[in-house]
Subunit: 378 residues, 2 copies
């Protein structure tokens, strides 16, 4: 039996509805939002005022221009709550701030080799970089997501990263949250976050998005959303076997895709052809198991050039029988797709449920006024 | 905004609720069903009468026995609408009838080699076998599902079957429906239906269920349901590449799992070890891409013996790094799992929505009475 939605739930739902319209491609006034949502103008105005007060929406000056242009267009407030993206690479750390409108406001990457090191020093460097980037952006930060080059379990713990042998079962999000004064920090696999970035940039709804770096991973998109598998670890294409008697992999296996197609293996045209063939073999398995119609090669792969892409296409054409004409293309995003994807997950969460942000702001105000009115309790 | 459910919708929902309780492991009386569902005794009695009239439920004589036993236990009517399972194998056809309580009432398999033949003759043989089996069972048939040894698209068309080269884009369900006087016939991949049978027999909720025959396929279970992939063709593990320079496969590829681990390749212990290794390599890919914790080997594999199972386990233990301790076991079901799974899908549909069956029966009654009252219109 369904229970009638409470006033509070309805208002929270409607806040998201209105913010979604403001975030759309077409500039809309309050009247335009009312027309598109079916809400009354009075309701829309009340909701818009709340979104403006929370710093999520701004109302531009009335345009005097051409016919049909809205009088006072609303837009996402670029000074509103922003997303902090963080990344632990194999030999880098990165941080960026993406504002509510999706614009990258500050982005920095620094060398930091983690192949031999334990996590503590690296996480300290990343937290310091994050603090710098946040200070430079000068925006309120709604939360952070950290992209990690390994297997992230359903609880957000980095379970294993083959190229980072000392990082085993590390609660990276919790550790960074402590260093960043309690800012909520979630963790995700870097290839998964790069795949989401690909989708948000207009990529295909159903695809295997391969992220080529020192390690190789993939994010699997089905119906526009990340496919998690049974436990959130899906998409570890770098450890699909492509040469059963091949080289030992850092994961402990043998002949994994990563041993042939990791960026550090791509020295010269023969290696590139071999990598393309190996990618095609592994992707044949992915197409047969997942029934996906498209493959996007991202991370460092687009920089390798057409030889790699041609080899992958030829291999898939010769081997994948269950789907004719699997589309294979390079990503148009750079190697920072995972970092930007990480920041954008935070922004997407704000847009999906602005009521949560407004509720948190209210809580902060209450706590502040309580501490002002009764300092003795501190 | 949610709309209140209409009386009709509520009654249909409640019919399924009551039938679900009757189908449960514990024998329940009308009072027992009322207690478990929260419906009034009057409502339950009215729904039970409707289910009895439709031939779905039967009420046993009041038990005089021990304390706590229900007075007049309800159970699924074994004379009620049954499911017809059909199968086109590579060199067999099969048909079986499973009653509402899940018991196989009649089952027959006949040799019928389809490797060289076009579909027409084979489908004629299968339809004749189906008619025999239905006549022998003497039960009303709610519908049929046909298991096919190839790629079945989202519209139920057999798109390709590597071992049946002349079966390309065949609407098998529609063809059989015509031959079976309009009985609804759906089509599914044989490995998918075998995986569902495995689940209904108490198997794991998250698993790759491999079906070993002349061809090799898999059904992927996630959260207890079949994983379809982007277009319904997921699970074609037989064409995952395990020997990049291996033998040419019927699919046109090279070194597919099926070329090494299809049952016809298993001649002698060396071949069994090679097949186990190949299965382990392909399953390593599946575990890494899908993050599944369990593998069930079914079809003809359990008959091969422990050598195969040990080889698969050893290979997975050495190669699958993202999940420790993937469970690998043989299926306890026989090689007819797909056939029984096909019949059981029909029974499951009846149990999930008995209102649809009752509605169809009402429609038949209306048509019959119309034809009796105005014979001139025929």
């Amino acid at each position: 039996m369904s229970v009638p939605a409470g006033q509070h739930t309805v208002r929270r739902h409607n806040l998201a509805l209105v913010l979604g319209e403001v975030a759309g491609p077409e500039p809309l006034s309050r009247a335009g939002v009312a027309a598109r949502t079916g809400l009354t103008r009075g309701t829309v105005s009340s909701l818009v005022e709340e979104l403006i007060a929370a710093g999520l929406v701004t109302e531009l000056a009335a345009a005097r221009g051409g016919p049909g242009r809205p009088a006072s267009p609303l837009r996402l407030d670029p000074r509103g709550p922003a997303g902090l993206g963080l990344e632990v690479g194999v030999d880098t750390v990165g941080a960026c701030v993406v504002d509510l409108g999706g614009t990258v406001r500050v982005q920095r990457t620094a060398p930091s080799d983690h192949r031999e090191d334990a996590p503590d020093a690296a996480l300290g460097r990343l937290a310091a970089l994050a603090a710098d980037v946040v200070a430079e952006a000068g925006l309120p930060i709604a939360g952070a997501t950290v992209a990690l080059p390994g297997v992230v379990g359903p609880d957000g713990v980095l379970e294993r990263a083959p190229n980072l042998p000392r990082w085993v079962d590390v609660a990276v999000g919790a550790a960074l949250s402590t260093q960043l004064r309690g800012l909520p920090v979630r963790a995700g696999n870097e290839a998964d976050l790069a795949a989401l970035a690909e989708r948000w940039a207009g990529g295909p709804a159903d695809a295997v998005v391969v992220s080529g770096g020192i390690g190789v991973g993939a994010g699997i998109l089905l119906d526009g959303a990340l496919f998690a598998g049974a436990g959130g670890r899906a998409g570890e294409i770098g450890h699909v076997v492509v040469e059963p008697d091949g080289r030992t992999c850092h994961c402990g296996g043998r002949g994994c895709l990563e041993t042939v197609a990791g960026l550090e293996a791509l020295t010269g045209p023969d290696a590139v052809r071999a990598a393309g063939r190996a990618l095609g073999i592994a992707l044949t398995g992915a197409v047969h198991l997942l029934d996906v119609p498209a493959v996007v090669l991202g991370g460092g792969y687009p920089g390798v050039g057409p030889l790699l892409l041609d080899a992958v296409r030829a291999e898939l054409a010769a081997r994948a029988f269950s789907r004719a004409g699997v589309e294979v293309r390079y990503s148009a995003l750079g190697a920072d797709a995972a970092l930007r994807g990480a920041a954008t997950t935070v922004v997407q969460d704000v847009l999906a449920d602005p009521g949560a942000v407004i509720g948190a702001q209210g809580q902060v105000r209450k706590e502040r006024s309580a501490s002002v009115s009764s300092p003795g309790t501190q």
